[in-house]
């Protein structure tokens, strides 16, 4: 890696040189970029780790959390030897086992995710450097943020100070992703645990790529800089003024959306056009201008486009429905594609005159254009929206209730809609009721529908099934009116100093991060309900991405969303929206900063020690309740390597493997006591590293359990146990059957539950255990002073 970096900068150092003209000593020549390293901290053992550098750490985790593979297919079909039948312990033509094949698919997913974030970061960074110059300082917090890129500092061992400093970081990410992808070729890695180690590597790289993307856009585009009380933005279709021209942006790369805002600002017409968004572009455009509005998560794409409200649709990259052009054409909304990664077969108009493109949209009726210049795309979008809106009159493909009844009568009850539905929703039953005039069942489906449209593709009668659902629920759709706190970006160092102690000692029961996509088993509201419950219990709750939107789409009995009910500070009972997908790096960054700022552990290129600290002491848990994408897989993997467990919803079993601990195997739960060097039993904390819950209730009980760490003080453990026991009693019934595994001494027992827990301990042959200074790394055992 050092060589690769030198290639960029070309450094040459000569100790002695004899020539015809003179004798030289200690010459140093640098060509190209010169990195002014002002970071005084000594470099740790693993700067710029390669594929195998952190292998022993990964293997230590994987020895506890062995993969439980859940093949989604009996076969391997990745090469022309195949398809290979891997059932019954058979090996494929290349010799691969089912276990290795599953881990290989997990690695592929993690590589796709890491590549997507890193490519997003590269595109952003290149554009921002072109616009602002490579010397633009990184500034993600005017006050209170001195450790401004904790993931990059930890992994790469460098401290980036300008946009230009981020380029070699991405060079590193890209080289690692290329090598990781190569690992999945036929006849490379053959061992499933080594595949899994590389999954962790891909996840770690993913977090570096995400961090680069977000700190670059925060620094250059003036997003909120670690502000606990960043502004609230409108959320939901009901907040849109449909009398105005409306632009819809979908995707993840904010630059075209920023181009729209810039043009509106330059023309002084911000109040005349509604800029609305779906997916992370929506979150990031509200960070750029809090006048922009978030419509909802990915699952709102079909329903919002079909409503006819958006007059122009601008798409960039990632998680954009690939049939958007078709859907846009049906409602006569022009579409502008803005990413090389997503051209949709459209003609490239990047170098054409703006006036000509606008004219072709308005008079020529072209359905779409590819414009790879964000500023130009922004201007075209605004001008077209203003011209076309009066003519379009928000004409959608929504159907009337009368039409709904007529269409419903065509249904043959073949059940293919239900069999195509990811959530097995009783669609045919609801359509039958609608045919008889009862729309209530269809209306109920709206809440649980993930908006994928598979029901329509499957329908033999060509019924617009998804539109039948939204038609029945039209009052709900148009009254969705909520708010979301705009993404604040990183957590301040000062906040970390305040909460570091209470978190590590367990007095704040944990950090629970609701992240990821919207493939929920029972609708968005479950995320909001979980957020509210944990915030009320004084956990620190973080949100990001589609989950941040879902968290805001529900009101309490007083009519408040979680963002109005709780503060946005990183504190007990705070609900902290860090921002979009790429902002997830700040959640990992907060855990890393607890180790480096609060506990003063060396940060620079010192991955294992920091991860060991986080794993054993920081009670953080990720919840990706609707995880769907490969990016979510990579994000989760980055948390795993850092020792942070992740809970997913039931659809998460389709990621093909879990990482589960065995609480019944006592031999798995020993750590080194750094004080004595001896091995100490800690109980199964945290019990799992990657776990799919069946219901929201299961997830909440498991989250409370997974926040326990070996280092908890008795006061802290009692607090965590009180939450675990209370949630278990409420949702499952009775005291948890494994509670004796988490009590180390009588002081760990919650005071209000003393009698019942003590009785349980007596029934389970409980013995007192010491509380160690825990580590999995023998090198961290304190050396005895002579």
């Amino acid at each position: 890696m050092v060589n690769a970096l030198k290639r960029k900068g070309v450094n040459l150092s000569i100790k002695e040189l004899d020539s015809d003209i003179a004798h030289f000593r200690n010459i140093s020549i640098s060509i190209g970029s010169v990195h002014h390293d002002t970071w005084q901290e000594p470099t740790g053992p693993t700067p710029f780790p390669t594929l195998s550098t952190l292998r022993s750490w990964d293997h230590a985790l994987l020895a506890r959390y062995k993969p439980f593979y859940l093949p989604f297919c009996d076969l391997c079909c990745l090469c022309t030897y195949g398809k290979c039948d891997l059932t019954g312990q058979k090996r494929g033509a290349c010799g691969i086992t089912m276990a290795a094949q599953q881990s290989r698919i997990v690695l592929l997913a993690a590589c796709i995710g890491a590549a997507t974030h890193t490519s997003h970061a590269r595109e952003l960074l290149t554009g921002l450097i072109d616009r602002f110059g490579s010397d633009l300082p990184i500034n993600v917090g005017d006050v209170g943020v001195e450790v401004e890129a904790p993931v990059t500092r930890l992994v790469c061992g460098i401290r980036p100070q300008t946009l230009g400093d981020l380029e070699p970081v991405l060079d590193y990410c890209e080289s690692q992703i290329t090598q990781l992808l190569a690992v999945t070729h036929t006849g490379q890695e053959g061992n499933n645990i080594d595949f899994e180690s590389k999954v962790f590597h891909a996840g770690m790289i993913d977090h570096v790529g995400m961090e680069v993307a977000d700190i670059a856009q925060i620094s250059a585009l003036g997003f909120p800089k670690a502000e606990p009380e960043s502004p609230l933005a409108d959320l939901g279709l009901g907040t849109v003024d449909v009398k105005k021209p409306v632009i819809l942006v979908i995707g993840h790369n904010v630059t075209p959306s920023a181009g729209i805002i810039d043009y509106l600002r330059a023309e002084g017409i911000q109040s005349e056009v509604e800029v609305t968004g779906i997916c992370c572009t929506a979150l990031d455009v509200t960070r750029y201008s809090s006048r922009a509005k978030v419509i909802g998560p990915i699952s709102w794409q079909l329903r919002y486009i079909r409503s006819g409200v958006p007059d122009v649709i601008v798409i960039d990259e990632q998680c954009v429905r690939t049939d958007t052009l078709l859907e846009a054409a049906k409602v006569k909304s022009p579409l502008i594609a803005t990413s090389e990664k997503n051209c949709l077969g459209l003609p490239d108009r990047t170098h054409d005159n703006v006036g000509d493109i606008v004219k072709d949209f308005i008079d020529g009726g072209i359905p779409g254009a590819l414009i790879l210049d964000p500023e130009k795309a922004g201007e075209v979008a605004v001008r077209v929206a203003r011209s076309i809106a009066p003519r379009r009159k928000k004409q959608g493909t929504d159907i009337s209730k009368e039409e709904l009844g007529r269409l419903a009568k065509k249904c043959t009850q073949c059940m293919l809609c239900r069999r195509a539905c990811p959530n097995d929703l009783p669609i045919a039953q609801a359509i039958r009721a609608a045919a008889g005039g009862n729309l209530s069942l269809l209306d109920e489906l709206y809440d649980d529908c993930v908006g994928c449209g598979r029901c329509e593709s499957a329908c033999t009668q060509k019924l617009p099934v998804h539109s039948l659902i939204t038609a029945a629920a039209d009052q709900k759709t148009h009254s969705e009116s909520y708010c979301i706190r705009t993404g604040r970006g990183p957590i301040q160092d000062t906040e970390i100093r305040k909460v570091g102690g209470p978190i590590v000692l367990g007095e704040i029961p944990g950090i629970v991060a609701f992240v990821g996509c919207a493939n929920y088993p029972k609708g968005s509201r479950e995320v909001a309900e979980m957020c509210r419950e944990f915030a009320k219990r004084r956990y620190i709750v973080c949100t990001s991405g589609c989950s941040a939107m879902s968290a805001g789409m529900h009101r309490d009995e007083d009519g408040r969303t979680v963002y109005e009910q709780f503060s946005g500070a990183f504190e007990a009972g705070g609900v902290v929206n860090v921002g979009s997908c790429v902002s997830n790096a700040h959640i990992a960054g907060a855990a890393i900063k607890i180790a480096s700022i609060f506990a003063k552990r060396p940060l620079r290129g010192n991955y294992e020690e920091i991860a060991d600290y986080v794993y054993n002491r920081v009670g953080a848990v990720g919840v990706a309740w609707g995880a769907m994408s490969q990016k979510a897989a990579a994000i989760a993997a980055g948390f795993w390597r850092l020792g942070i467990p992740v809970v997913v919803g039931p659809h998460g079993t389709k990621y093909r493997r879990m990482l589960l601990g065995r609480s019944d195997k006592t031999e798995d739960w020993y750590v080194y006591d750094a004080r004595s060097g001896g091995k100490v039993f800690t109980g199964p904390v945290p019990e799992h590293l990657f776990f799919a819950a069946e219901t929201k209730e299961d997830a909440m009980v498991m989250v409370a359990k997974l926040t326990m760490r070996p280092n908890d003080t008795s006061k802290g453990r009692a607090n965590k146990l009180a939450n675990y026991i209370d949630l278990h009693k409420r949702f499952v019934g009775g005291i948890p059957p494994d509670v004796h595994l988490f009590v180390r001494n009588p002081a760990d027992i919650p005071l209000t539950m003393k009698d019942e827990v003590t009785l349980h301990l007596k029934d389970h042959d409980w013995k007192e255990q010491p509380i160690p200074d825990p580590t999995l790394l023998p090198r961290l055992i304190h050396k005895k002073r002579v």
Binding site: L70, D74, D424, H651, H688, A692, E694, E697, D698, G734
Partner: protein
């Protein structure tokens, strides 16, 4: 629809598919043959209430008659407790699935490995993936589902059935176990 077609149309596993329980006697024979059966019950069972018969009551009768320990995976536990039935264990679905792949695991009573796992009431796709894990990584275990939809990754599964037919089949299995 064909009897042995995956309920969720696209969830087709490959060459190894479940045999059909076309009549209750088949299930009874499998249960009688098993030395160490176990039943895993998900949260979906409380949703079924057909002609006055609650599925959970049918399962309690089934487990009691056949002396099969019941593992409850989710908040359904409360429903069992309300009926005076205490499950053998509470354990999340992926956790019990994982343990069943371990040939060295001696079960909740510490006596021996289970040889038949009967699943019912998990979300279709989650049961599908867990049964796939067991199909591939628990070679000594037979699996059976009592749901009314075809689960291709089980060793034995009901076909896709109407609720009425399904109830008749379940009653038939319970009756076949004798008193």
């Amino acid at each position: 629809m064909p009897l042995n077609e995956s309920w969720q149309t696209a969830e087709i596993p490959g060459p190894k598919k479940a045999s059909l329980i076309i009549k209750p006697d088949i299930a009874d024979a499998m249960i009688r043959r098993a030395k160490r059966p176990i039943m895993i019950v998900g949260h979906g069972i409380v949703e079924y209430d057909v002609e006055g018969l609650k599925l959970i009551d049918c399962l309690i009768e089934f487990a009691t008659k056949a002396h099969i320990p019941v593992v409850v995976t989710a908040s359904t536990n409360r429903e069992f407790l309300n009926r005076g039935f205490t499950p053998a264990a509470l354990m999340p679905a992926v956790d019990i699935g994982n343990r069943l792949t371990d040939p060295g695991w001696k079960g909740f009573d510490g006596k021996d490995a289970y040889d038949l796992a009967i699943f019912v009431g998990l979300p279709y796709y989650m049961e599908w993936t867990i049964l796939s894990g067991l199909k591939h990584f628990a070679p000594n275990l037979k699996t059976m589902t009592l749901d009314c939809v075809y689960q291709p990754n089980a060793s034995w599964s009901f076909p896709n059935s109407t609720i009425k037919d399904w109830v008749v089949n379940l009653k038939g299995i319970v009756d076949g176990l004798g008193d």
